[in-house]
């Protein structure tokens, strides 16, 4: 990633990575702190804004790109990882960060998440998990508890077991997996820096409360706890350890050694030479 530590080093503060656009988020939403963590991380790394791309799908959390002063791409629901993969593969010189919610990433975008983990393109994915669809006003997501009965869509509760993003990421082969909590933006910023610096696909699961549709998540600040182990580079060991995790342990689970997927062609033929292949 060192190639991106360019020009503007030292000159930029977190504020310089914020745009002048006022977020649409509800007061108290965890996503504000994630935004603060992102700008802090970018300033910390001294990334040039014009060489940084922030990609997202659709949802409250997916609004982040326009709130930064980097290049941004706000695509369609669930496809941020596909768009970001195309961007990074075509433009390996850029630093690519991807943001979105648990619905965007694990429901409509679940297949892309699986394949982004196994493909291991060098980019960083921050999932802001509030265990609900915020933007569509409070429906169950793939990380919602089976007995959560507050949604009009599933008044008896979704009735299906939630997935655990960290173990899913490990199972699918992500190369760097960590969990943070929006209530501690400094730590989230640190995880983002680590994730960006780590080669390959980095998944940072950030617990980010939806104060409007899951007000009880305000209590997360007393539920979260340090994960308590040192990061490992062995996915099997990380997987074993995660089996004991309660979903609220914070820290880096895996910093693996898989080679990033970065195929690159080399121009060894001209159009003229290819054309000659058609001649009779």
């Amino acid at each position: 990633m060192d190639t991106h530590l360019v020009e503007e080093v030292a000159a930029l503060t977190p504020g310089d990575y914020k745009s002048d656009v006022k977020p649409i988020w509800c007061p108290g939403c965890g996503d504000y702190s994630v935004l603060a963590a992102v700008t802090r991380a970018l300033a910390n790394m001294g990334l040039a804004r014009h060489n940084t791309a922030v990609v997202s799908g659709i949802g409250c959390s997916s609004r982040i790109p326009a709130y930064t002063s980097c290049y941004g791409f706000h695509g369609v629901h669930g496809r941020s990882l596909a768009a970001a993969s195309g961007l990074k593969l075509a433009r390996p010189d850029l630093t690519v960060l991807v943001f979105g919610g648990d619905g965007d990433g694990f429901s409509i975008g679940g297949n892309h998440f699986l394949h982004a983990c196994r493909r291991n393109v060098d980019m960083t994915y921050v999932v802001m998990d509030n265990q609900v669809y915020g933007m569509t006003k409070g429906q169950a997501s793939p990380t919602t508890e089976a007995d959560w009965c507050e949604s009009k869509l599933t008044p008896e509760g979704p009735g299906v077991n939630p997935i655990q993003p960290v173990s899913l990421a490990l199972a699918c082969g992500a190369n760097f997996v960590a969990r943070g909590f929006s209530g501690d933006p400094n730590e989230v910023a640190r995880l983002i820096v680590e994730g960006v610096r780590h080669p390959g696909f980095s998944v940072i699961h950030v617990l980010s409360p939806c104060v409007t549709f899951r007000p009880e998540q305000r209590g997360w600040k007393s539920t979260v706890h340090p994960y308590g182990r040192q990061p490992t580079d062995d996915p099997n060991e990380a997987m074993r350890a995660v089996l004991e995790d309660d979903g609220f342990g914070l820290g880096i689970f895996l910093a693996g050694n898989r080679r990033p997927f970065a195929p690159a062609g080399t121009a060894v033929k001209t159009i003229q030479q290819i054309e000659e292949g058609f001649a009779v």
Partner: protein, 573 residues
């Protein structure tokens, strides 16, 4: 007396090697200076199952199937009735059949075609490593008067990698077949080729589309395989890599289209190819490309629909979804090649247009062009390249207006890496700066802008192929153009005056251009390969066609033949 065109079907179940024999026949004909076309008809089986290589040869360029099959040679008759309807014959046709494979199926024999027996399997059996397809190739080559040197020139190319033994066995098989038919005197010798001027190519529509993309400067492709588009992707994979680009296999079409949107946001000209089912999955992201003004090109190689439909056979029935499939008011480009060779130009042009107009462009090819191979004159070089209008003066200190409302509708853009051009490209409706906006004024301005840039663009002469004059016109598009052109040529030769107007630009329709092309016409025949007359309805939604209008609209998998168009024209002449 020699004939000016001969149409041959090599028929046999999988393993008989009809496609190899067909390709070698086409290659050999090209070697000696003939033109030709080979299309494929195959069943749904992955391997095995009924198959036919359909080859038409002529001293003149060939752009469509013949009216009937002059010669059918069958290595076996397994399941041939499944595509008998695609093998029209008359009493002048000849069927060569192997007596060991049973009787000629009644559906084919009913044509009254002359039936001649040839013990193909027995002949092949006498040669160590001998194969029926080579015996058949020898017989056909001899029947059409293809000089042996032409065949020899291609044996090595086709079979060399299988070793000397295979090459020898093939040559012996070809000899055996040729020897048996010598003296049959079927009258199917093709007129000798004219002296060759210029370079000729042997190319499939799918290869041509891939090459067109490359020529325009495409450097990225995301791919999900689907019949009959896969060959574009498989051709692009090594050729993009060799020219410094990249193809990546995606997990599905939702990913492939979003990947190319992402790559294109990065300033890299990008493409994907698919067929109807994939295009259906891509429509949401095509709308994203339109709204975010991110250029992308999707080549849709059409097959029979709806749903999974008939994957291996051609139809023009994706026109509706290509033109109207996006939600919201989402003006975008739809273009169609008018021949196999034109798959090159049209795809190259599509990339150029998408980039120049910062929008999505769908190229509507089809199975009959994509998976057919033709010997053609090398297409003329065209200057069309991917070129995006980039903003300058980005160091002014002002916030960049990505979606600035301009006279042309095209807004100068900035791509990541350009300092001062930072912005968020958005599928949400937005202000000129790109910030999400639900205000009517922003929505209306951006809608107008996105339409204006397409409608106001000067597409030059390329919007249609217009040939001939007279007050009768054939209005058509895509792979129906070849047969229509042939029908027009025949009628013109017979002293009639008929015009051909084949649209390459299907959306936006330019009513004033269509009206001009049809000026003075009192009868129009619309020709297309759909069940629902999709093209006819599409055109009529935009243009008042002059005089009386008749429609020849026939669904796949039956190809439109020159004879069909000629008959339809005869009734209005």
């Amino acid at each position: 007396m020699a004939v000016d065109s001969v149409t041959i079907a090599l028929v046999g179940s999988g393993g008989a090697g009809v496609m190899t024999a067909g390709q070698m026949l086409l290659d050999a004909a090209a070697q000696v200076g003939w033109y030709g076309l080979m299309s494929r008809s195959s069943g749904p089986q992955i391997r095995g199952g009924e198959a036919a290589a359909l080859v038409r040869l002529s001293p003149k360029p060939v752009e469509g199937p013949g009216d009937r099959f002059d010669l059918i040679i069958a290595f076996d008759w397994q399941n041939v009735e499944r595509f008998a309807a695609e093998l029209p014959m008359t009493a002048e046709s000849v069927i060569v059949t192997d007596p060991s494979q049973g009787d000629v199926p009644a559906v084919l024999a009913a044509s009254g075609a002359r039936i001649i027996e040839l013990p193909i399997k027995e002949l092949a059996g006498k040669i160590p490593g001998g194969r029926v397809n080579m015996v058949g190739l020898g017989a056909v080559a001899s029947i059409v008067g293809l000089p042996r040197a032409g065949v020899d020139a291609v044996i090595d190319k086709a079979l060399g990698k299988k070793g000397e033994g295979a090459v020898k066995a093939s040559a012996a098989g070809i000899d055996a077949g040729a020897k048996e038919v010598a003296g049959w005197g079927l009258g199917l010798e093709l007129t000798a080729p004219e002296a060759r001027t210029g370079i000729r190519w042997n190319i499939s529509g799918n290869e041509a589309a891939g090459f067109g993309a490359l020529k325009a400067g495409v450097k990225f492709c995301a791919a999900y395989p689907i019949t009959p588009a896969t060959e574009i992707l498989e051709w692009l994979a090594p050729n993009l890599a060799r020219t410094g680009g990249l193809l990546v296999q995606a997990e599905d079409e939702l990913a492939s289209i979003n990947m190319i949107v992402g790559a294109s946001f990065g300033g890299v000209p990008s493409i994907t190819a698919t067929a109807g089912p994939g295009l259906s999955l891509m429509t949401e992201a095509l709308g994203l490309a339109v709204a975010s003004e991110t250029p992308v090109v999707v080549v849709d190689v059409m097959r029979g629909g709806p749903s999974t439909g008939i994957p291996t056979k051609s139809e023009q029935s994706d026109l509706n979804i290509a033109v109207n499939g996006l939600h919201g008011d989402a003006p975008h480009l739809v273009v169609a090649p008018t021949s196999i060779a034109d798959c090159l130009f049209t795809t190259q042009w599509a990339v150029h247009l998408a980039e120049a107009l910062q929008t999505a462009c769908i190229v509507l090819s089809d199975q009959s062009m994509g998976q057919s191979r033709a010997v053609v004159d090398k297409p003329a070089d065209q200057p069309f390249k991917a070129q995006r209008l980039l903003a300058d003066g980005l160091d002014s200190g002002e916030l960049f207006k990505r979606y600035a409302v301009t006279g042309s509708g095209v807004s100068p853009t900035a791509i990541p890496g350009m300092p001062g051009g930072e912005h968020t490209a958005d599928g949400l409706e937005h202000s000129e700066r790109g910030l999400p906006s639900s205000q009517s004024s922003d929505h209306h301005k951006q809608l107008d802008k996105r339409l204006r840039k397409l409608v106001g663009h000067d597409y030059g002469i390329h919007w249609a192929d217009i040939e001939g004059d007279g007050d009768v016109a054939v209005l058509t598009w895509g792979s129906a153009t070849g047969p229509a052109r042939e029908a027009v040529a025949r009628l013109t030769a017979a002293g009639h005056k008929v015009r051909l107007v084949s649209l390459r630009l299907l959306s936006p329709v330019k009513p004033e251009l269509v009206a001009e092309a049809l000026k003075g016409v009192s009868r129009v025949l619309v020709v297309e390969q759909t069940h629902g007359a999709q093209f006819h309805k599409h055109i009529r939604a935009h243009v008042d066609l002059p005089g009386t209008v008749s429609v020849l609209s026939q669904p796949g998998p039956l190809p439109i033949r020159a004879r069909d168009v000629q008959q339809a024209l005869a009734s209005i002449l």
